[in-house]
C-alpha cells in the first residue's frame, strides 16, 4: 500500500522524481566527502563503542580511520546515485533513499567522533527508548484513523495517562495498578472523543483540541493543587528491567532488545500484533472497510459506528500505555506538560509511516534517533545547531504530506461523519 503513487512507471512525474532522487543521492555523497571526509584530519581514528553496561562478552570497540571511512561511505552514496540516474531503482527507490541517508548519517557520526569515541550501543538504546512513546502514540492514532476518526488528541491522552499513572501508582504503591488506571483513563478519553465526534457530531479536530486543552489544564491544575503539596503522591517508582534469559546475553542485540522494561516489550507486541490484526484478520478488514468506505461497509452489515467507537476507545487505551511510559517507565515522576508535544510527533510518525504499524514504528525510530543524536552531539560538542535535528521529524512529515518523498494517502473516509440513512 506504500506504492500507490508509483502507478505507471513511465509517467513524466515519476521520471522527474527518479532523476531528482538520483541527483539528491549524488549530492549527499559529495556532501559527505566534502564535509566529513575532507573535514576530518587524515590519521585520526573514530572509536565506536558497542558494549552495554554489563556485557557478559566484551566486544572490542571499533576503531576506524575517520577520513577513509567517510570517503568509502560517500563513494557508496555516489555509486547508488549513479545507478539511480542511469538505470533507476524503480519501486525500490525509497529503500535506496533510506540506505543513502543512512550512509550519510554514519559518515557524519564518524566525523563527529573523530579523535574521540562514540558509544554506538548507547545511541541505539536511547533511540529505542525515545521512540517508545512516539510508536505507541502513533499506534493509538492509527487505530482511530483506520476506522475514520481523526485523533489529534494523542497528546492530551498521553498527558492524562502520565498523570494518572504517577498519582495512582503512588497512592496504590504499585506500578501495575498505576499502569492499569492510566490505560483506563486513556480509554475514557477515547470514549469522550468518540462520543463527541460520533454522537454529538463535533468536528473531530475540534473534539481533539478540546481534549488536549482539558488534559493540559486539568493535569497542570491537579499537579499544582495535589502533587505539589503531597510529594509522596508523585513517587510511583518505575517498572524494573526484565532481562530475558539467554537472549539478553547475545552481544549488541541482547542489551539492546532483551534487557528492557515492560513498555518496550509491549511496544513490540503491539506493533506486530496490530499489524497482523489490521491486515490479516476479519476485524482488520472490517476496520479498514469502515475507514475507507463506510457506506459500503454498512451495506454488507458491518456496524460502522460500533467499529468506530471500539477503535477510538482502543486507541485511547494504547495512548494510555504511551502516557504511562513517561511516569512509570522513564522518569518516575510527573511534571507539568511532560509529554512536551510528543503526541504531535506521534501524529507525524503515523503519517510518515503511512497509517501502517510497521511504518509508524520505523518513523518513530527515525524521530527517536534524531532526538537522541542531538543529545549525543551536545556531549561531543559538535558545532551544529541541535535545533535543526529537533526540527527534522516535522520537516520530514511536511515533505511526505506534500508528496515530495512518496505520497501519504490517509484512509478515504478519515475525518468524515457517517450518518446512517
Amino acid at each position: 500500500m506504500s506504492t500507490i503513487a508509483a502507478a505507471p512507471a513511465t509517467s513524466k512525474v515519476s521520471i522527474r522524481r527518479a532523476r531528482v532522487l538520483g541527483i539528491v543521492f549524488v549530492a549527499l555523497g559529495f556532501g559527505a566527502a566534502w564535509w566529513f571526509g575532507l573535514g576530518s584530519e587524515s590519521g585520526s581514528d573514530s572509536t565506536l563503542g558497542l558494549n552495554g553496561r554489563s556485557a557478559e562478552i566484551e566486544i572490542p570497540a571499533l576503531a576506524l580511520p575517520s577520513r577513509e571511512t567517510a570517503f568509502i561511505l560517500a563513494a557508496v552514496c555516489v555509486f547508488l546515485g549513479a545507478i539511480q540516474l542511469t538505470r533507476g531503482f524503480g519501486k525500490r527507490a525509497n529503500l535506496i533513499l533510506g540506505v543513502v541517508v543512512g550512509c550519510f548519517i554514519l559518515a557524519f557520526l564518524i566525523w563527529a567522533a573523530r579523535d574521540d569515541s562514540l558509544n554506538m550501543l548507547g545511541l541505539l538504546q536511547s533511540t529505542l527508548l525515545r521512540s517508545v512513546p512516539i510508536t505507541l502514540g502513533a499506534l493509538a492514532g492509527l487505530l482511530c484513523e483506520r476506522s475514520g476518526v481523526i485523533n489529534i488528541a494523542i497528546e492530551g491522552m498521553m498527558l492524562t495517562a502520565a498523570f494518572t499513572g504517577a498519582l495512582v501508582g503512588s497512592a496504590a504503591g504499585s506500578t501495575i495498578v498505576g499502569l492499569i488506571l492510566a490505560v483506563v483513563l486513556g480509554g475514557l478519553l477515547g470514549a469522550m472523543l468518540a462520543v463527541l465526534s460520533i454522537r454529538y457530531r463535533v468536528d473531530q479536530i475540534v473534539g481533539g483540541t478540546v481534549i488536549n486543552i482539558l488534559a493540559l489544564g486539568l493535569t497542570s491544575y491537579l499537579s499544582a493543587q495535589i502533587l505539589a503539596r503531597y510529594q509522596n503522591l508523585n513517587n510511583p517508582g518505575r517498572f524494573p528491567v526484565i532481562e530475558i534469559p539467554l537472549l539478553s546475553d547475545i552481544p549488541i542485540i541482547g542489551p539492546l532488545l532483551f534487557a528492557n522494561n515492560i513498555f518496550i516489550y509491549m511496544m513490540f507486541i503491539l506493533v506486530f500484533g496490530i499489524n497482523v490484526a489490521l491486515f490479516r484478520s476479519r476485524w482488520g478488514l472490517r476496520v479498514r472497510a469502515v475507514g475507507e468506505h463506510p457506506k459500503a461497509a454498512d451495506t454488507v452489515g458491518i456496524k460502522v459506528l460500533g467499529v468506530r467507537y471500539r477503535n477510538v476507545i482502543l486507541g485511547g487505551m494504547v495512548a494510555g500505555i504511551a502516557g504511562a511510559y513517561f511516569t512509570l517507565g522513564s522518569v518516575g515522576r510527573f511534571d507539568e506538560n511532560m509529554t512536551g508535544g510528543r503526541g504531535f510527533i506521534a501524529l507525524a510518525a503515523m503519517i510518515f509511516g503511512r497509517w501502517n504499524p510497521i511504518g509508524a514504528f520505523g518513523a518513530a525510530l527515525v524521530f527517536g534517533f534524531a532526538d537522541s543524536l542531538q543529545n549525543k552531539l551536545a556531549i561531543l560538542q559538535v558545532p551544529i545547531a541541535s535545533e535543526f535535528l529537533l526540527m527534522a521529524p516535522y520537516v520530514a512529515t511536511i515533505l511526505v504530506v506534500a508528496g515530495v518523498v512518496g505520497r501519504a494517502r490517509p484512509p478515504a473516509a478519515d475525518g468524515q461523519l457517517y450518518i446512517k440513512e
Binding site: 482539558l214 489544564g217 535543526f388 512529515t397 511536511i398 506534500a402 475525518g415 468524515q416
Partner: protein
C-alpha cells in the same frame, strides 16, 4: 442559515420558528449556556480538588450542611475573586484588555481561515514568525516612533503571513492538509526561535541564556497613562473591523466565503481556489503574526524560547465567536477577563490559575457540541441539524 421549515411536512408539530428567534438561540443562548455549564463544572473540579472541602464531602452523611456550605464558600469566593480581578478596578480592566489584545488578533486569524474553509492550527507558529521579524525591526533600526512602530507592526504581519503562506501554498500546490502542515510548522517555528535566540543577531549581549534584545523605545506600543494596557487593543479592534469589512464587503471576502462553503462550486464559478487558499492563509498568518507582535511591542519587549500559548485559545475564540469578527472580539474579552482574574483567584481562594484552562476547554466543548447543550437544557432542536464540519478529510 436554513431555518425556514418546509410547511408541507405533516409530521412537524411545532410551528415554524421565526428566523430571528432561532438565530438568537444559536448565537446568544448556546454560548451563554456553554459558559454557565463550564463555570459549574469548573466549580465542581475546584470542590473535589480542595483537600478540606473534599474531606467535608467524605463525611457528607454525618454533616451534609457543612459540606454544602464549604463548597459554596469556596466556589463563590473563587468566582468573586475572578470577577474582581477582571473588572473590579481600573487596573483590573486594564489587565483584562491587555490580555484580550493578542487573543482578539489570534482569534481573528483562525476565524478568517475558517471562512475560507481552512483550519488554522498554526497561530502559535505564525506568532513566533511574526515576532522574529518585528523584533528584528524593533531592535536594529533607529527611527522616530511615527515610522518605527508602523514598520515593526508591518514586519510582524509580513513575517506571520509568510509562515502562514507556506501552509496555504502547500495546500494549494500539493493538497497537503493544512491541519497537519500547520501543526508541524508550529514546532519548526519553535525550534527556529530557539536557534535564532542563540545567534548574535538576536541574543542579548552579555547573556548566555536564549533571550532576545529589547525592542527600542520608538518601536513600542504606547500605553495609556499609568496602566499597562496600550494602543495594541485599539489596533486589535481596528483589525477586527477590517476583517469584518474584508469578509463581508469585498470581493475577496466573497471569494473566501464561496470557497469555504463549496470549493468545487467556487471553481466552477471561475474563482481560483488555490489562489484563495494561499491568500487566506497569508492573511490569517499575518493576523497571528500581529498578535505575537502586539504582545511583543506592548508588554514583553523581548523574546524567550517557547510558545506564547495562545494557539489553542485562538481556535476556541473563533468557535465561540462563530467565526464572526464581533463574536471573536466579545469572546476574546471574556477569555482576557478569565486570564486577568485568574491570579487574583489564586491569591484569594487558593485555586490554581490552571483551572482557567479547564474552564476554557469546557467552553469550547459545549460551544462545539450545541447538541449536547440542547440535550442538557432541553432546548428543542432546529428542523435541520447543521454541524460545523470544518474538516472534510485529511485527504485532499
Amino acid at each position: 442559515m436554513k431555518t425556514e421549515a418546509p410547511p408541507a411536512e405533516p409530521q412537524r408539530i411545532e410551528p415554524p420558528r421565526s428566523r430571528s428567534r432561532s438565530f438568537a438561540i444559536e448565537a446568544v443562548l448556546i454560548p451563554l449556556l456553554a459558559l454557565f455549564s463550564a463555570l459549574v463544572l469548573g466549580g465542581i473540579v475546584m470542590i473535589f480538588t480542595n483537600p478540606e472541602v473534599a474531606r467535608a464531602w467524605a463525611s457528607f452523611a454525618q454533616n451534609p450542611g457543612n459540606a454544602l456550605s464549604m463548597s459554596w464558600d469556596l466556589v463563590s469566593t473563587a468566582y468573586a475573586a475572578l470577577f474582581e480581578g477582571a473588572f473590579g478596578s481600573p487596573i483590573a480592566i486594564s489587565e483584562t484588555l491587555l490580555a484580550a489584545t493578542p487573543l482578539i488578533l489570534a482569534g481573528l486569524s483562525v476565524a478568517l481561515a475558517f471562512r475560507a474553509g481552512l483550519f488554522n492550527i498554526g497561530a502559535e507558529g505564525q506568532m513566533i514568525a511574526g515576532m522574529l521579524t518585528s523584533s528584528w525591526v524593533g531592535f536594529t533600526l533607529d527611527l522616530p516612533l511615527a515610522i518605527h512602530l508602523p514598520l515593526a507592526l508591518i514586519a510582524g504581519f509580513v513575517g506571520g503571513g509568510l509562515w502562514g503562506g507556506i501552509a496555504g501554498f502547500l495546500k494549494a500546490k500539493t493538497g497537503a492538509h493544512e491541519v497537519i502542515t500547520t501543526i508541524m510548522l508550529n514546532f519548526i517555528a519553535l525550534h527556529l526561535l530557539t536557534f535564532f535566540l542563540k545567534t548574535p543577531i538576536y541574543q542579548r549581549p552579555g547573556r548566555s541564556d536564549p533571550l532576545s534584545k529589547e525592542v527600542a523605545e520608538s518601536a513600542r506600543l504606547p500605553s495609556f497613562g499609568d496602566y499597562r494596557v496600550n494602543w495594541g487593543i485599539v489596533l486589535a479592534l481596528v483589525m477586527a473591523f477590517v476583517v469584518w469589512y474584508v469578509i463581508f464587503r469585498t470581493t475577496i471576502g466573497f471569494r473566501f466565503r464561496a470557497v469555504g462553503a463549496n470549493p468545487k462550486a467556487a471553481a466552477y464559478a471561475g474563482m481560483s481556489v488555490a489562489g484563495t487558499y494561499v491568500l487566506a492563509m497569508v492573511l490569517a498568518g499575518g493576523l497571528s503574526g500581529l498578535a505575537g507582535t502586539a504582545n511583543l511591542l506592548g508588554v514583553a519587549y523581548s523574546m524567550s524560547p517557547g510558545f506564547l500559548g495562545y494557539g489553542f485559545d485562538a481556535i476556541a475564540l473563533a468557535l465561540l465567536g462563530r467565526t464572526h469578527p464581533l463574536g471573536v472580539v466579545l469572546a476574546a474579552l471574556l477569555f482576557g477577563a478569565l486570564r486577568a482574574g485568574a491570579l487574583q483567584m489564586q491569591g484569594t481562594a487558593d485555586v490554581g490559575t490552571d483551572i482557567i484552562v479547564v474552564i476554557q476547554g469546557l467552553i469550547i466543548m459545549f460551544v462545539a457540541a450545541p447538541a449536547l447543550v440542547r440535550e442538557i437544557y432541553r432546548i428543542r432542536a432546529r428542523s435541520t441539524i447543521e454541524t460545523d464540519a470544518f474538516t472534510k478529510s485529511w485527504a485532499s
